[in-house]
Symmetry: C2
Subunit: 336 residues, 2 copies
DNA sequence: CTGAAAGCGCTAACAC
DNA sequence: GTGTTAGCGCTTTCAG
């Protein structure tokens, strides 16, 4: 049997569709006994509103799409949760979408997007280049997360990666480290995240008068703990020397720690290790991981606020918000 | 200006709505030049179909909802990714929904669900009780993941938790461990996951003639690494003795390892540690974590197949599929 | 191969 | 307070 409709409920209760609609939507001015009668009909028939019809009629969905690369990277899982909580405070539902593996470029996520599915999109790109961003002309509310290029027309929330990466590098230098490696270079075209963190790392080295040694800029082999393990294991086997390792993110750091352990390198005595993201798991690694913590809750709240402005019709220029960050010092970088 | 509609494209191209619809939906029998003209109009106007209208007209969405507790628990992030990949092979899109923190019970997720939003739901409950399941009468395609009670009318994919937990406990016993603790008891009403794994643990102890010591069944304080740390730290401080610790899942195990380290307990020499889920991070913990690996890809594929049967109108009794599991032995349980 | 018209289920004016 | 009715943008018979 077909799902009951509004009109079925109306007939069952002996009222009009409008009245049922009023009850379903919690409209205040309905006589108590009428409301009661309608509610009984709803329960009796097992009526549930059809979201597509409602959306088509109202033009709104009450839903925000959060688009991430993949939820099996913990950082994306954590930011997606933060966004859901932030959106909920504004009465918005969140659905998380993941990029299709090995098919379309990230650009397509924004260009081939059906209308009417969500009211707005919060997107955390991973490989979007400056060119992609410049050509982006979304005709729906959109907020970007992460390391977008600043002078773009689209709203964006992120941290000052260059400054933060420099601060972490300085932290390592203050700890007495002199040959600091960076795990996070990428083949060109390098993503903005890697580029900016690498820039901050180089700036801090230069400011401290430390030599720039390209062999200590380790080339990534995937954004995963496994990839971190492989690269660091290969570097150690290849004779690369360093007394500190600054990793582009905590997942890579976890793999790096594993590789260092396997090669009998003690942390932090012989090599200090630092990461980025402050994942929930990071404090429980051995040793507990020093990391650059960005304000995820703040990022989420800011992104949702900017998006809701747009959903409410704001059409000004792209706004760029920086959120807080700090170096969280743990055992992996204590004393040389 | 308002978003262009199908009819706008039709007028622009000098054809009817039907023809534009044919082009948009890749219908084969359209004359090449007509198709070309329509496509030009689509590009010129920047037309994108309205998903709500299409869904209302067709009654289908091409979308599956994956409902999990929260994406910031890595297990859920990993299974959500596996489900997306499996669904994609069937031409279905996946949206991930998270439970609203601290409000409605899980039951509400299934009962208060709007129609027309998705074609089917794959739900991994965490706290659903046997009673909840018995009373569940969803009128939409639904597949449950995890440790649902077997004799339910709803399709379900999981592993044989009792057998698997017993196998892991036997693995620890074979390694020479005699006082094996279990981290994962819960206050009543205990979730099915904890209950079944605890049962398997007890059965294996009994089968090996080892005494049952309730003080070694550690009560959970949240399903997080932090919670695992707190419980194990308190147990050690309280004088609980054990030479192996079987954790309900890898996240708890990560916290447990951290607590053991902090208390100067060596792993695996003094205490062997085992987990469950085989998270991507688990092999990179120190020591590398022995874990019960369930077949996530297989779970995802099976769940999607069952769901698609239902979406295609299958109305038979609830089907229950068991997927493969195995003990993955790593350094955390090697030699006493 | 293309056009015309009737819905899909709901909301929102506008009457009453 | 409650009923009537005209769309929301698209698909889908059914003609032609």
């Amino acid at each position: 049997m077909a799902a009951p409709r509004l009109i079925d409920v109306a007939r069952h209760a002996g009222v009009s569709m409008k009245t049922v609609s009023n009850v379903v939507n919690g409209y205040r001015h309905v006589r108590p006994d009428t409301r009661q009668r309608v509610q009984s009909a709803i329960d009796a028939l097992g009526y549930r509103p059809n979201a597509s019809a409602r959306r088509l009629a109202t033009g709104r969905t009450g839903t925000i799409a959060v688009v991430v690369w993949t939820t099996d990277v913990p950082y994306f899982g954590e930011i997606a949760r933060a966004l859901q909580i932030a959106a909920q405070a504004h009465g918005q539902r969140v659905v998380v979408e993941q990029l299709t593996p090995r098919t379309e470029p990230e650009r397509a996520v924004l260009q081939n997007r059906d209308r009417g599915l969500v009211d707005g999109v919060i997107f955390h790109p991973v490989r979007l280049t400056a060119d992609d961003l410049a050509n982006l002309q979304p005709d729906f509310p959109l907020v970007l997360l992460g390391e977008a290029i600043r002078p773009t027309a689209i709203d964006h929330v992120g941290v000052d990666n260059v400054a933060a990466a420099a601060a972490m590098t300085e932290h390592l230098i203050r700890g007495g480290r002199r040959s600091i490696a960076f795990l996070g270079r990428q083949r060109e075209p390098m993503g903005e995240t890697s580029r900016q963190r690498l820039t901050g790392y180089r700036q801090a080295l230069a400011a401290a008068g430390l030599p720039h040694d390209p062999s200590r800029e380790l080339l990534l082999d995937g954004l995963s703990a496994d990839g971190g393990y492989r690269v660091v294991a290969a570097a150690l086997a290849g004779g690369t020397r360093f007394d500190a390792l600054f990793c582009r993110d905590d997942l890579l750091a976890a793999g790096a720690i594993h590789a260092l352990h396997d090669h009998g390198v003690s942390i932090p005595e012989q090599v200090a290790v630092a990461g980025w993201d402050d994942l929930q798991i990071s404090r429980h690694l051995t040793p507990s991981l020093t990391t650059l913590a960005t304000d995820k809750a703040g990022t989420a709240e800011t992104a949702v606020e900017l998006l809701i402005d747009r959903m409410n019709g704001f059409t000004g220029a792209g706004r760029h918000r920086q959120v807080e960050w700090r170096v969280v010092e743990r055992a992996s970088t204590r004393g040389p």
